[in-house]
Symmetry: C2
Subunit: 490 residues, 2 copies
C-alpha cells in the first residue's frame, strides 16, 4: 500500500482524497471550493482535451469563445434555467477597489457599482443564444456547431476535488438546427462521442440513457447521459447531452427563414464533460498503491529506471536507458527516464505506482550484460524479464493489453454489481450494497422522490440500449414500460 | 477592396475594426468590454496556442491551473502590485441570487454576502505564490516551471477587439528559482521564445528590450518586452517577460533551504502573451482586401475552388478537386475544398481573400482537360497556371515563400520607418509621421513623462540587441548611455 494512502476497504472516500493529494493531481486553494489542478492532474486533462477536441472536429464542430460574465437579466429569460442556476452563482457587483481610508489595505469602491450585476457563467446557454440571435437568419446559417473550452462556476456548498468544485474546467457544445429531428440526432451523436471516449480511451464502460424529468438539465426538453460505476458501487454521471427544443431560441428570439420562406424558432442542443472525468478515472481503476491510468490517457506511458550502485555504474547505465527510450519513442510510446541520482529505486518504483505510469522498465548491470530488461505492469503489478531486442513491440503490445484489461475489469465489476429487483423490500435491502439496480418504476415524480427519500437512490437513467420488457412498478404496482437504472450516486 | 471594409488610407482604425468584424474574427458581446471570439478568430488562437505550448514544453515547462478568483487581501500583499491592479478589477461580493419579491426576475440575495470579496484574476502572481508556498521547501523543489492557459479580466475603460478587452485569453508562466541569475536567465529565455514565435511563425519582426521603470509590470524588478511596428507606424507590445526578484516570495513568505542548509527567499519570473497577438497579426500584415495570414498561423493554408456551370460540370469537377486536396494533405498542407454550389466563384474568391487563406487553387473544365490548375497567392494577389503534376511541391514551396515574403515586407517597413533623431525639435516633428524613433534620453522619469505629455510618444524599450553608443539626452542634454526606442503605441 502506498505510504499515507488510506486503503479502499478502510475508507473509500478518504482513499480518494488521499490519492488526489499524494499523486499530485490537485489540491484545495485559498478560495473556498476552488481547486488548484497540479501539473500531473493537468497533464491528464490535456490528454482528455486533445482526444475529445479531435472527436468534436471530426464530427464537424468548431471552437469559439464566449464571455465569462453574463448579465443577471439573461438568466431570467428561460424560466426553468433561472430556477436551476440562480441559487448558486458568483455575482460581480463592482468594478474597482480603492485604498482603505485607514491604510489597512483595499476596499470595494462604492462609486464603482455596476448598473446591472454580472454572473460568472455557471453554463453558457443564455449568453450564447443571445449571440446566436445575430448569427442566424436563414436555413443556410444552419446547422451552427460550436464548442467552447472554458471555466465555469457553481457555488456548491459541499465540494470534493474534481468531483464537485465551485470552479471547474469543461467543454460545452452549443448547436443550432433547422429541425427538431436534426437537433435530436445531434444530441444522440454527441452522447455516442462521449460514450466512445469513456470506453475506448478512459477504459470506463458506461450506460447510455435518458434522465427522468426531475434530473433533467434546467431548460432542456430531454437530457441524455452516460453513467459509470465506481469501485464502491456508486454511480457517477460522466457526461450529458441535452436536447433543448426551442426553449432558448424562444427566450432569446432566435428565428430563421426556412427553405419555404417561413419563419420558425431554431432548435438547439448543448452537451458537456468536465474535469469531473478525472475523478471518474481515479475512482474507476485505481487501487491502494495509487493511480491506475489507462495507457491512452496516461501522460507518460512508460518509465525507465536505471538500477545502479555508485556514479560509475550510473554513467554506464545511462546510454543503455537512452537506447531503449529511443526505441520506445519510435514505436509511438510516451516515455521518460527517471535518472534522479539521489533516490533509491524502491522509492522511485513506489512513486511511479502512485502516479499510475502503466509500464515500468528497470535496467541493472546484469541486464546490460544479458541484454535483458525487467518490465512491470502497473495494473496487475506483475513483472517479467525480457530481451532488449524487440522491447518496443513488447511494450506497445503490453500497453494495448493493459488498456483492454482495465476496461474488462471495470466491465466485469459493473456486471457483477448490476441486478434486477422486482420488490421494493428487496430493493431497500440490495441498495445498501451499492451497485446498479434495474427495477420497474411507474414513471411518476412522486414515486421517484419517495424512493430517493427512503433509500438515497436516484434513477440514474432510463437506459437506451437495454431490451425493453414491460412490468409493474416495484413501489406502486402500476404499469412500467421498461426497467430503469437505480443507484446511489456522486 | 473588400466590400464594406474601409481602406487603410481612409481610416486605419476603422479599417481594423471592419476587418475584425467582416472576417468573422470577433465581435462585441452584451457585456461591456467582453468580446466573443468567433470560430475563425479562435482557430487562429488555437494555432498560436499549439505552437507556443510546444515551445514552452520544449523549454521544460508544465501546464497547471489556478483559481479564477483571488481573495481581495492577496492583492494588497505586494505594494506595487496592488497599485497596478486594484483600480480595474471585477469584484465578486455575493454568491446567490433569489427571486424578486415583485416577480420581476432575480435580484442579489443580501443574505449571501461573502465575508471577504473575491477578485476575478487580472493576473495570477498572488494566488500562485500563495500556492507555491506549500510546494517549495528545498532547493530540490527548484526550479519550478509552470504555465497556465487562462482567461483574465481587467476593467478597461476604452476597449478595442483583441487589442484591449476587459476579458482576454492568455498564457501566464510563473517560475521559481534558487538564484537571481537563474531567474534572470529564465526571463531572457522566455523573451527569446516570444521573439522567435513572433518572427518565425507570426512573421512579425520584433525589437527586444527592457522597459523603463514607469512602464514596468506592477511588482517586477525588470520587465522585458518585444515590440512590433504596425502598418500605421504605431508600436504594439506583443509579449512581456518579468524578472520579479524576491518581491512575491517575500509578500507570500516563500523560502527554501539551499544546498548549504541556509534559508532564503525564492526568485521569480512571470511572462505572458495574449489574444492581443491576433490584433498584432491583423495590423502587421493585412490589406484593404482583408486578412493576410502567415501560412504557419493560418488555420487553412490552401483552398480549392471548382469552377463550373451547372450540376453536371460540378459533379465532374469534384473528384479532381479531391485528388489535388489529397496530394496537398500528403505534403502536409492544411487544405479545404469550397464546394458550396449556391455561390459564384467571384464571391468565394473575395471571401477567401477577406479571410486571409494564403493560397487559392481554382480548377475549371479547361484545367481538367489540360491537366493544369490556377494558383493565386493572397499576399501579392498574383496568379499563375501550373501543371497539376507536382502541384503539392509547388504549393509547399509557395507557402514557404509567402511566409518569408510577409516577414521581409514587415521588416522592410519597420526599417524604413525607424530613424535616429538628436534634437527634441526634430523629434516632435518626426513623431507625427509615426514609426520608431531612436533617441538619447537622460534616464529620468521626469523627462520621460514630459516627452509623453508633449508628444504622446512613450519609451517602448531600452533595446537589448542594438550597438550601445553614448550621447546626450535630446531634451535635457544630460548624458545618455544608449539610444532608446520612442513611439506612439497601442
Amino acid at each position: 500500500m502506498a505510504k499515507e494512502v488510506t486503503s479502499r476497504a478502510e475508507n473509500y472516500s478518504q482513499w480518494y482524497q488521499d490519492l488526489v493529494i499524494k499523486a499530485n493531481l490537485a489540491e484545495n486553494s485559498a478560495v473556498r471550493g476552488c481547486m488548484v489542478i497540479k501539473p500531473h492532474g493537468y497533464a491528464i486533462w490535456e490528454r482528455m482535451q486533445r482526444i475529445l477536441d479531435d472527436m468534436f472536429k471530426a464530427t464537424g464542430h468548431q471552437n469559439a469563445y464566449f464571455p465569462l460574465l453574463i448579465p443577471k437579466s439573461f438568466l431570467s429569460r428561460e424560466a426553468d434555467h433561472v430556477e436551476g442556476f440562480a441559487k448558486e452563482c458568483a455575482v460581480v457587483t463592482h468594478y474597482r477597489l480603492k485604498n482603505a481610508d485607514d491604510g489597512s489595505g483595499v476596499v470595494v469602491d462604492p462609486d464603482a457599482r455596476l448598473e446591472e450585476e454580472l454572473i460568472i457563467r455557471p453554463t453558457s446557454e443564455t449568453i450564447i443564444w443571445n449571440t446566436y440571435k445575430n448569427w442566424i437568419h436563414s436555413y443556410r446559417d444552419l446547422p451552427l456547431l460550436c464548442n467552447q473550452w472554458a471555466n465555469v462556476m457553481r457555488w456548491e456548498m459541499r465540494t470534493r476535488l474534481f468531483l464537485r468544485t465551485a470552479e471547474f474546467l469543461w467543454q460545452e457544445g452549443h448547436t443550432a438546427h433547422a429541425t427538431a429531428e436534426e437537433a435530436q440526432e445531434e444530441t444522440v451523436r454527441m452522447l455516442n462521442v462521449y460514450a466512445e471516449f469513456a470506453e475506448k480511451y478512459m477504459a470506463i464502460p458506461v450506460l447510455k440513457g435518458v434522465k427522468t424529468a426531475s434530473e433533467r438539465f434546467a431548460g432542456a426538453v430531454d437530457t441524455y447521459c452516460i453513467e459509470a460505476m465506481m469501485q464502491d458501487g456508486k454511480a457517477l454521471q460522466a457526461g450529458t447531452s441535452h436536447f433543448l427544443g426551442q426553449n432558448f431560441a424562444k427566450a432569446f428570439d432566435v428565428k430563421f427563414t426556412g427553405k419555404n420562406g417561413e419563419l420558425d424558432y431554431v432548435w438547439a442542443t448543448s452537451w458537456g464533460v468536465s474535469t469531473r472525468l478525472i475523478g471518474a478515472l481515479i475512482m474507476a481503476h485505481s487501487d491502494d498503491n495509487g493511480l491506475v491510468l489507462p495507457p491512452k490517457i496516461a501522460p507518460v506511458q512508460a518509465v525507465i529506471v536505471p538500477i545502479f550502485k555508485g556514479d560509475d555504474e550510473f554513467q554506464q547505465m545511462k546510454p543503455h536507458c537512452q537506447t531503449i527510450a529511443n526505441k520506445l519513442r519510435q514505436a509511438g510510446v510516451t516515455v521518460k527516464i527517471d535518472d534522479r541520482d539521489n533516490l533509491r529505486s524502491g522509492f522511485k518504483f513506489a512513486e511511479h505506482e502512485l502516479q499510475g505510469i502503466p509500464v515500468r522498465l528497470a535496467l541493472g548491470p546484469r541486464d546490460v550484460q544479458n541484454g535483458t530488461v525487467e518490465v512491470a505492469r502497473r495494473d496487475t503489478l506483475s513483472k517479467e524479464t525480457i530481451p532488449q531486442e524487440g522491447v518496443e513491440q513488447h511494450v506497445a503490445a503490453l500497453l494495448d493489453d493493459i488498456q483492454n484489461s482495465i476496461y474488462n475489469k471495470a466491465l466485469q465489476f459493473r456486471e457483477s454489481n448490476t441486478l434486477c429487483v422486482d420488490t421494493y423490500e428487496e430493493f431497500k435491502q440490495k441498495i445498501e450494497n451499492g451497485g446498479f439496480i434495474m427495477a420497474h418504476w411507474d414513471g411518476t415524480a412522486e414515486t421517484e422522490s419517495r424512493i430517493k427519500e427512503e433509500t438515497k437512490a436516484t434513477i440514474r437513467c432510463i437506459p437506451l440500449d437495454e431490451v425493453k420488457t414491460a412490468g409493474k412498478c416495484m413501489v406502486t404496482g402500476k404499469p412500467s414500460a421498461q426497467r430503469v437504472v437505480f443507484a446511489r450516486n456522486y
